[in-house]
Symmetry: C2
């Protein structure tokens, strides 16, 4: 038997079933018309942003990194809740605009922006987080051709990383940003060329659960901002401090103490030099804002025994849940939080492995978990499905196609 | 510096560039209209099937496992080349029909078939490779309701696996097929119920490069078929011996000696008992038929240095090349074969890491390879892109969308 991850707070029960937003899993599937189905809870999303507002310094703006989940109705809700969007491609930029985002409140990072992406962003007045000297040169050329002043921030490749993070984005040679020591010269080049220098974007890592690690990273980030500001001799208009706030996926994981992070950041803000008195600070969060607000519901199609082991075969799989299957950015597969959604009131009574419908041994949703008895027709819930689920999985693998999605 | 995998045979040069089907990479991109682009060579596909025909016993039918690549023009070509299609979902079934496949020549495997999939297959007269007693029961119920006799083969979970294979599908508890010892009773149940029993499907693993391992697996598979046939007392109409033929992806990999495999199978066929004299045998190959026939072309957008290391940033990435990025079914990332497609005649002169355009450190296409000097605008080729590329990658990740595809 293997442990499963912690089920996020905020989910209830209705008619003996898992309820999301007060509606039972079966009723949600009926509403959507089919399984598999991603359900996103707007109550959960609102509460998460409220908690962040309460914990973080008032001075800190909250941006949504929409790569975590670009489902249009969810984007529209996030637009109403947050202070800005961070986009990572030309496609995401269009989705952000469709959700009502003001180009002024959008910043665009990503190491492989094409000329057409730069042109669109410059035309709209979106801030480009420039990833290299080459990208700055292209943006300046395009700005000149369009007779439009580009808004250029510099993404800095910091020499530190986020300790204990799932994904390190700084420390050593990286394809992201400009090495810190070359940033002052690049900023001077930007201002000399007549572009509007917007400030810095510094992203050192993601998916950390330790408040101490995030506090240390934010302190190092602000030290670097002070140092760069001194070296440049001009104050940045905006500073994006990155993200890094993780969510608990696996057995033993505990939530980030955002109260501690906010207090430390408040204290650090109070010691900033006067050169940064008018600078606007933000953090960009994706997974932390939306990850725990999503549940993936899939129906059991078959219950079978092989060599004494019980398998529950579902109509879902890694084509919607690549990360939960252990095939995306993880070396050792561990179980996400899982439940039999139609039997949440029942006691666990058997050990079952839940697999998807794909013809590959990689397609495992939950390995040897202790669960209530479940049969064909029952619904399985995989939690923490709000981020990097639907859009970060190979939906068309084996001719399957995308899952349904529902914001409730 | 890290090694790269072996570039498959059959690619040439035109105007100093990589040529596919005699056309230069630049001309192919111009024809397709954009990068990134998958190009599939029909000459390569034809030659591969011819080589298989020459090597394998005449008695062995060749089926295409279309999960490897369901691009419609490629499917239409494969339909003309092979003896049948193996599909793994209701979606693939429709694509096979669209490509002109005769339902009689289609078999349908997959552990999570839904009732609607079973209904469609039974109506069409497609052979179902049944994965469990439960699935047989559902198929019989649906057949009775439709007053149509279902064609049912039994997928057997063998007690052996394919040694050295990239993906083991047999040996121990599996979600695939029915444990061998329960198969005779299930076949009797199928025939007693009046369904048309089609035979066996036995798939022990995939992506093996050792002829000896494949020969041993095929021998074990045929031993099992003899044993099951004896136990049942009826001869199977068809036997699908599975696949398992790998292709060289990584440094040091060498091709399967299919001549040796074919000779061993011929010898084994000659010793089969008379009960199997009229049985039709086939193998199903996906990756082996199409993998080396595909090349992924992506354009360099940026050339940048970080902490002394050179990065070539492309407009492609893991959203089209999940396996090449090392994030699908592999524990240790190794380099696929790679070339600067627009500089194939030039000598290697620098060590570069080729990354995709996504904002994640997972998005690496080639790590620290020795390459000719390449600049923004040059095209990079990733080989072995014909199987499990476009359809097995998260195309919509970060708002990117699918790559173009071209059969030449």
């Amino acid at each position: 038997m293997k442990a499963t991850g912690p089920i996020p707070a905020g989910y209830g029960m209705a008619d003996g079933e898992l309820a999301i937003g007060g509606v039972s899993a079966s009723a949600l599937v009926e509403k959507a018309g089919d399984t598999p189905l991603f359900v996103y809870s707007s109550a959960h999303l609102r509460q998460r942003v409220e908690e962040l507002r309460a914990a973080m310094p008032r001075r800190l703006a909250l941006h949504y990194a929409m790569k975590a989940n670009p489902f249009p109705p969810l984007l529209a809700l996030m637009h109403a809740l947050v202070d800005g969007f961070d986009v990572a491609s030309g496609g995401e930029l269009e989705m952000a605009l469709d959700a009502g985002a003001n180009p002024d409140k959008i910043s665009f990072a990503g190491p492989g922006k094409r000329d057409r992406d730069l042109e669109r962003a410059i035309t709209l007045g979106v801030t480009l987080n420039c990833e290299s000297e080459g990208e700055v040169a292209r943006a300046l050329t395009i700005g000149a051709r369009l007779a439009t002043t580009p808004k250029l921030a510099v993404r800095v490749n910091p020499s530190f990383d986020l300790k204990g993070s799932g994904m390190k984005m700084g420390g050593g040679a990286k394809p992201f940003g400009v090495d810190a020591e070359r940033v002052p010269a690049l900023v001077k080049h930007i201002t000399n060329a007549g572009a509007q220098w917007q400030g810095f974007h510094i992203y050192a890592g993601s998916q950390a659960l330790s408040a101490d690690a995030i506090i240390a990273m934010q302190a190092q980030t602000l030290d670097l901002v002070v140092e760069l500001t001194d070296a440049i001799g001009m104050s940045p208009t905006k500073v994006n401090l990155g993200g890094g706030f993780g969510i608990p996926y696996f057995p033993g994981d505990t939530p980030v103490d955002i109260g501690a992070v906010g207090m430390a950041l408040e204290a650090r803000f109070s010691r900033l030099p006067s050169s940064l008195a008018d600078t606007h600070f933000c953090i960009e969060l994706g997974r932390y804002m939306v990850g725990e607000a999503g549940v993936y519901l899939t129906r059991i199609v078959d219950r079978k025994i092989s060599h004494g082991e019980l398998f529950l075969v579902t109509d879902g799989g890694l084509h919607h849940q690549l990360a939960a299957s252990g095939n995306f950015g993880t070396v050792i597969r561990r179980n996400y939080p899982v439940a039999v959604a139609t039997r949440v009131a029942a006691e666990p009574e058997e050990v079952a492995t839940i697999v998807g419908c794909l013809c590959t041994p990689l397609d495992k949703l939950s390995d040897s978990a202790h669960l209530p008895r479940a049969d064909a027709g029952d619904l399985v819930a995989i939690f923490c499905a709000g981020a990097y689920g639907a859009s970060a999985s190979p939906a068309n693998f084996l001719g399957q196609g995308p899952a349904a999605e529902l914001l409730v």
